[in-house]
Structure formats: structure tokens, C-alpha cells
Symmetry: C2
Subunit: 457 residues, 2 copies
């Protein structure tokens, strides 16, 4: 018997298990009652209404590439797998916007709008797999948000299946607008972006697009004798008012892991590499690239140069994107996502090294360094309980250090389950109370993804 007439339902226990979690290591996973695969907003509305009637929680998910447990099942929930909602409903090239269903994969969206000479900038490393709905749920960032902003900066409007004050659970609410500007009422669209499905289920999204870039970007590579001196170069680049499209850091451990896996021919001849991508066109771009290389050199780079080999440059960025799966091959990876002011990057990188050494855990660091968004990856041998305890202690200390440096516990991965305690350290009781009040008033039954974000740890 299916729960919802005419809607695809997963009952196979193995498939249900695989749909019950995301990529977050050591986040608790509950037992779902079922997983459903709707194809339309109307089907999602029926699912939510039915769940409300039966008192079943609703846990939405996209591709499950999240790193904070935001898509993990809770006991007795229905998982709403939106990955079959892959329609690109509209590309309005005249107005540089598109409307897509939540299950469209980020790279598929990019390809679809590229045919119209347009570009959707947000590019989380998961872009070959992650869905726009998931990107919206976590307000995903990526490499080029240094210059071009994060997912929230591109979401003009969205359709969500909601409950609470909007009417019965299962009500379809169209938030936001199609225009470039608009201040008609409170910005509920921004509230839903990053809410990880705790306020309703987002079924389609209206996105702002940009004109496609006309020239291939330039790449500047800098090699450093320590991650801390690479951090100094990041601070110096910002101080000079330089705004590359991307400014990424990879440490030696990361480069080695990628090379061992993929044999891209990378040489890890330094403790850290910085990769800057500059997409300003023409001579101004050449000047900007030279200025970035100059900032790297002044900060103590072993060498810094503009890559003249496009293939090599692309391989370096490919290495950056492959870093996470490459490290996962070595054992369970606990992924940090702290974001600190850019001037605090060197100090934060030094603190991470110190914490890793003291707890005797292996930490490989990749970073959207230009944003101050650091992803130390804590790797533990599988099945080693002592290592796991040490890793979790290091994880907590890194969060504390980031807060003390004026930063946040999550730059782009979301609170989910893993950052709930950290968020409670970061935000004041007054702000936490406001957060919870918003959740209660928009979801009085606590039906939508309960326990996540503002849920009690």
C-alpha cells in the first residue's frame, strides 16, 4: 500500500537507507517511515497535507551531498526526495532569469542557461551532483562567490509548500518576485534560503542570471612554505582591494591525496598552494593578475606566477573540486566550515595546525580562502574510536577559535545537525529566541525537518 496515491514511493530498505542521510560524518540518522519521489509542486502539497494529517515529519532532500546532516532522516519521518523534479520550467533570456524545479542539478542548470549566453555563478564543489533545492536549503557558496556572491544573491523568488499561518499544511506559497528589485513586504525568500527545509518544502526557484563570461579566466598560482604564509597572502590580497573571482587554498596533504587518486600530475612541492582566478576582461585583467601575483610574492610566496597553460590551470581547480572525495578515500572525514574575517585567516590557519598537533589528528585544509571560509578536513582511520573522540574535540575547538576571531561556525554548509551546538555558542540567547519564534510561527506543528538548525541539540 502506498502512502500517497499515485506518487512514487521507495520501500526497498537499502534504497530507503541510502536516502536517509547526507554526506555528514557522524551525524545521527533516524529511521524513516518511507521515502517519496514527487514530480510536481502539487504532489509535494499532497504529501505535506497527508503527513500533517498523520503526524509524520517531512524531511526534504536533494542529492544528499550536504555536509551537516541537514537531510538526515529523523525517526518516523517521510523523506521527500526532490531529485526527480528536474524540469527547467523557463529560461527568460530577455530578463536574465530562469525558473527551475528544486531537483535540477547545479551543473545541468549552468549548461541549460549557457545555451542562452547566460551564467549561473554559484559553484559549490558538489555542483556536478548537488541540486538547486539543496543549494537553496543551505545557501550554498562555492569558489566564485568571492566576487559573485552565494546562492541567496541569486534567488529572486521561490515556491514552497508550507503550513501554519498560511493555511492548512500543504498550502502552496509563492514567495518573492521576478523583477530585479522589490520590497513588497518582508523578505521571506531570503528567510527560506538557508532554512534547510525547516520552514517548508521548496519546490521551484526563480533565479537571477548573469551574462556568460566572454574570455577564459586567468589563473595565478602561488606556492608557500606554510599554510600560514599562504594565509598572509590572502590577507594581503584583500588589503590591496583585489577581488579575484576565486581565491582557493590547498595544503600539501590535500594535493597529495588528489594526486594519489587521480594522477593529474600535480607536484606537491610546497606546504600550500593558492589558486586565484581572475575574470576581468582584457588588459585590466592582466593588470589584476599581476597585482595578485605581487601580493602573493610580498607575503612570502616561494614562487607566484600566472599560469600560461590552460590545461594545467584547469587541473589545479579540478584538484580543488576533488579534494573532498579524495580525502574521504583515506577514512571518515569530519568537515569543518568556519568563516572568519580575512585578516584573521593566517591566525586561524595557525590555530588549526596547533589544534591538530595537540589532539594528534590529521587535518588537511582546503579553503575558499578569499572569503575567509576554511574547510579543515579532519581524517580519522575507520573504526578507531580514540581517533574519533580526538577528532570531535578538535572540531569543537576549531569552532570556538572561529567565534573568538569574529567568525561564524558555518560559512556555507549549514547548521543541520553538526553545527547546532556551535550555533548556540555563536548567537546570543536573544537571537536564538527570535530564530525559534520564527520557526514556531511558520511551522507550529514542527513538521518540517524537525530538530535541524534551531532544533534542540
Amino acid at each position: 500500500m502506498s502512502l500517497f496515491a499515485g506518487i512514487d514511493e521507495v520501500t526497498d530498505p537499502d534504497v530507503l537507507a541510502s536516502l536517509s542521510h547526507d554526506e555528514a560524518e557522524w551525524a545521527p540518522v533516524g529511521r524513516a517511515v518511507a521515502a517519496v519521489r514527487p514530480r510536481s509542486t502539487e504532489e509535494v502539497a499532497r504529501i505535506v497535507a497527508g503527513c500533517a494529517e498523520r503526524g509524520l515529519s517531512v524531511v526534504p532532500r536533494g542529492a544528499g551531498t550536504g555536509l551537516s546532516g541537514g537531510a538526515n532522516a529523523v525517526d518516523g519521518c517521510v523523506i521527500v526526495d526532490l531529485s526527480k523534479m528536474t524540469a527547467i520550467l523557463e529560461v527568460d533570456a530577455d530578463n536574465m532569469i530562469c525558473v527551475v524545479q528544486a531537483g535540477v542539478v547545479n551543473n545541468d542548470l549552468k549548461a541549460a542557461v549557457a545555451k542562452h549566453g547566460l551564467w549561473y555563478p554559484p559553484d559549490p564543489a558538489s555542483s556536478p551532483w548537488s541540486t538547486i533545492g539543496g543549494n537553496v536549503a543551505t545557501n550554498a557558496g562555492g569558489l566564485c562567490c568571492l566576487k559573485y556572491g552565494v546562492t541567496r544573491d541569486y534567488v529572486l523568488g521561490l515556491t514552497a509548500v508550507v503550513g501554519g499561518p498560511a493555511g492548512d499544511y500543504g498550502t502552496v506559497a509563492r514567495l518573492g518576485r521576478r523583477t530585479t528589485k522589490g520590497v513588497s513586504g518582508y523578505d521571506l525568500t531570503s528567510l527560506f534560503v538557508g532554512a534547510e527545509g525547516t520552514l517548508g518544502v521548496v519546490t521551484d526557484v526563480t533565479l537571477k542570471l548573469r551574462p556568460a563570461r566572454k574570455e577564459p579566466p586567468r589563473t595565478v598560482v602561488g606556492a608557500f612554505g606554510s599554510v600560514v604564509s599562504a594565509g598572509e597572502a590572502v590577507a594581503e590580497t584583500t588589503r590591496q582591494g583585489l577581488l579575484p573571482a576565486a581565491l582557493e587554498l590547498l595544503d600539501r596533504a590535500t594535493l597529495q591525496a588528489v594526486e594519489e587518486w587521480k594522477h593529474l600530475g600535480l607536484s606537491a612541492d610546497a606546504e600550500a598552494l593558492l589558486l586565484a582566478q581572475i575574470d576581468t576582461p582584457g588588459a585590466a585583467g592582466a593588470e589584476e593578475a599581476a597585482a595578485v601575483a605581487g601580493a602573493f610574492t610580498r607575503a612570502g610566496a616561494l614562487w607566484a606566477e600566472q599560469s600560461t597553460d590552460e590545461v594545467e590551470a584547469e587541473q589545479l581547480f579540478a584538484a580543488r573540486r576533488l579534494a573532498y572525495p579524495a580525502m574521504e578515500r583515506l577514512g571518515p572525514v569530519l568537515t569543518e566550515d568556519v568563516c572568519v574575517p580575512r585578516s584573521a585567516v593566517p591566525g586561524m590557519l595557525a590555530a588549526i595546525e596547533e589544534i591538530g598537533a595537540r589532539h594528534q589528528v590529521i587535518i588537511a585544509t582546503i579553503a575558499h580562502a578569499g572569503d575567509g571560509n576554511l574547510h579543515p578536513l579532519i581524517i580519522t582511520p575507520a573504526g578507531d574510536d580514540a581517533a574519533r573522540v580526538a577528532a570531535q574535540a578538535a572540531f569543537s575547538e576549531i569552532l570556538e577559535k572561529a567565534i573568538a576571531a569574529g567568525g561564524t561556525v558555518t560559512g556555507e554548509h549549514g547548521v543541520g545537525l553538526l553545527k547546532r551546538a556551535g550555533m548556540r555558542q555563536e548567537l546570543s540567547p536573544a537571537v536564538l529566541a527570535m530564530q525559534s519564534a520564527v520557526k514556531r510561527t511558520l511551522d507550529p506543528l514542527n513538521l518540517f525537518n524537525p530538530g535541524k538548525v534551531v532544533g534542540e541539540p
Copy 2:
């Protein structure tokens, strides 16, 4: 006797009257009990706590340049005039951010950060007078938001004096962050931006800055035989993927009114002018300017050329900024603020002409045309009641047309009092119920600027 010990209070009836309204024509103005001029967040907190105890509404205001009545007094309120809170608390050049009190004037902020080689882009036409707090309250736009975004895009965090779930009224809540990215909990910062003081009183703001532009921008001017053909040029420019820093429209009535007042030497030899500002540096900027001029020509411009005279170019933009006060000299001005998809700009401009002719009202149109944000200014002779009725009918019809074109009733001025009915036409009952629920839960006493935005018309 003063209401709040040690806090400046205005009792002079004339000054109180002048602090009781903004620049919105024909918006209702209530009778305030008093106006206070706090100098710190702590003083605002005492005011809000005192008002809650005594059951007095709190109406915050900056410079009073708003155009929707958002800062108008309501009966029995205390006006909280934040214009004395003018401290620039911090300019952190290394991280390209600043922290300023709510009363800092937009242009003063621009000047302060320019000393550090930085730039705060949002530039409402009111920037010589309007405050950052007011800009935040309405999510102000301006000329260069076409390329650089609106106020919300620059607000990383803010301090607000709140009530409700955060604790007693008078609680100080620090929302948001100092980092470029962050997803720790719901985006309450974005919720407060554009909320017009209905959720709490914003006392200071943490703003993202950009590096200062290094070259003077280029200006392309196009003259058109009708506002509709100017609108076609806007649509064509967008269609070509061109993104000037600004793309402004002025019609003949506006140019004449400015010239009669300021004698800038403008010649109104066309029915409409388009002014494009291009700030891409170097040769790429020259190409972009040529492409914009080409788009104007293809759309039927009488002439289109890059201005080679910087003084002339600056005067054209000055005319744009002076348009509103110039029209006000001719009589009460009812200012529209609709925003439509850019492809709908020509049709919307034609509809505005038709509506003006049918109601026999004078409508001068200025527009942030590149954003689709149109400001038809409806001018009535002072004291002419029939003209006023006709103007209000035209105003309502323009709102209806904008909604029908897929647009919004307010692009950047806010709902205030004047757009409450329009907002109710634009948003669905479900969305309105969510808006009201958010207001109720964050301000259960309905103390903050009651009746505005989601308040009942």
C-alpha cells in the same frame, strides 16, 4: 518633564510636526506624543523599554526622505529620531567592512570609506540627505544597483532593539555577522532590511564595502522620440547581456523641470533620454560603451553617443538626482515605484502614458530603467481636489498594470502606508498570512511602527 531621563526630547510643536512625516504625498499623518533623539543603542533600548511599559508605539525615523509614509507618526506614538546617531564606529579596510550608526548620512559614509580606498555602492537619489538606517529600513536602491545591488546586498549584520521572543522590549539583538559568508541560523538580517522599523529599531549596521573604482566611468547618452522607444532600448540592452553600472531614463517633462530650476544648460530636444554609466575599466569598458550605444541605435534612438565631456555627463546624472525635488516645485507629487521585468518596460511606459492621458493628469517619468524600476511622478496643482482624485485613480491603475506585467508595486521605496493596498493585490493570502505571523511573533505588542507594511490599510 522629559519622558526618558537624560535623552534629548523634542517638545516644540513645529519641530514635532516636521518630524512627524516623511516625503510621501497624501499619506496619513498621526499625532505623536513626543519625539526623542537618542545618541546610542543603550538610549534606544531605554526608550523602547519605556514605551512598552507605557503602551506607546515606537516610530523610528532617519532623515525623513522616505516616499511611502513609512516614517509617518501614528496617533499616540513616540518618534525615535535616529539622525543624531552619526558615529562611524569602525572602518575595517583589511576586511572591506564598516560599522556605522543608523543616523549616518549615505554620502557621509561614502566619503568616510573613500579615505580608505573603499566604496559603498548603494546610491539612492536621496544620498546627500538620507541615512543608512533609513536606507536599511526600505532596502533602498539607487542608480548603480543595476550592476552592484541594493542595500540588502551590503548589510552583513545589524544591531536592533527588539522585543517579543528575544525577551523584554528593549532587548539588544546583534543579528548577522562580520564575515563575507555565513549560514548560522535563519537570515534575520535580511528580514530586518526592508522591514521599515516594524520589527524593531535598527541602531547600527555592519556593511560590506567594495574597492574604490579606479577610473572615472564612461557615459553613453541616447535621445529618443518617445519614452516607449527608450523602453525598447532598455529591453535591447538587457537582451544583449550588457550590464552598465546605471541605466537611467528621464522624460522631457523631467528635463524641463530640472532645467527651469537649475539652469544646467540641458537641452530637452527629445521625448526621453537614456543615460548609461559604464565602469568596466580599460578597453573592455570602451567596447561595452560602444555596445550600449549600438543597442540604443538599433532600438531607434534619434542619436546615441558616448559623452566625451565629463562635465556634461555629470550634469546629466545631476539632473537625474534633482528630478524629484524639481517636480515637487510644480505641485504635490505622488511618486510611483513599480518594478517590472525589463522586457515589460516598453509596454509599461506605454500604459503609463495612456493612463495619464485618460485621467488627464500630468505624469513625468524617471526610471532606473535598467532595473525595470519606474518612477512615474504624478503632479497635481496644489489644492485641486478633482486633480487629486484623478491622480489617485491613476496611481492605483499603474499598480494594477505593474502586477499584471509580472512586476511589483514597490521596487525600492517600501510599502509604508501608500503601498499597503497594492501589496495586498500583489501577494497571495497565504504569503500575507506568513508576513503577518512574522510581525506578530517578533512584535507581539504591535509596538514597532504599527500599521506600516503588513498593518491593515
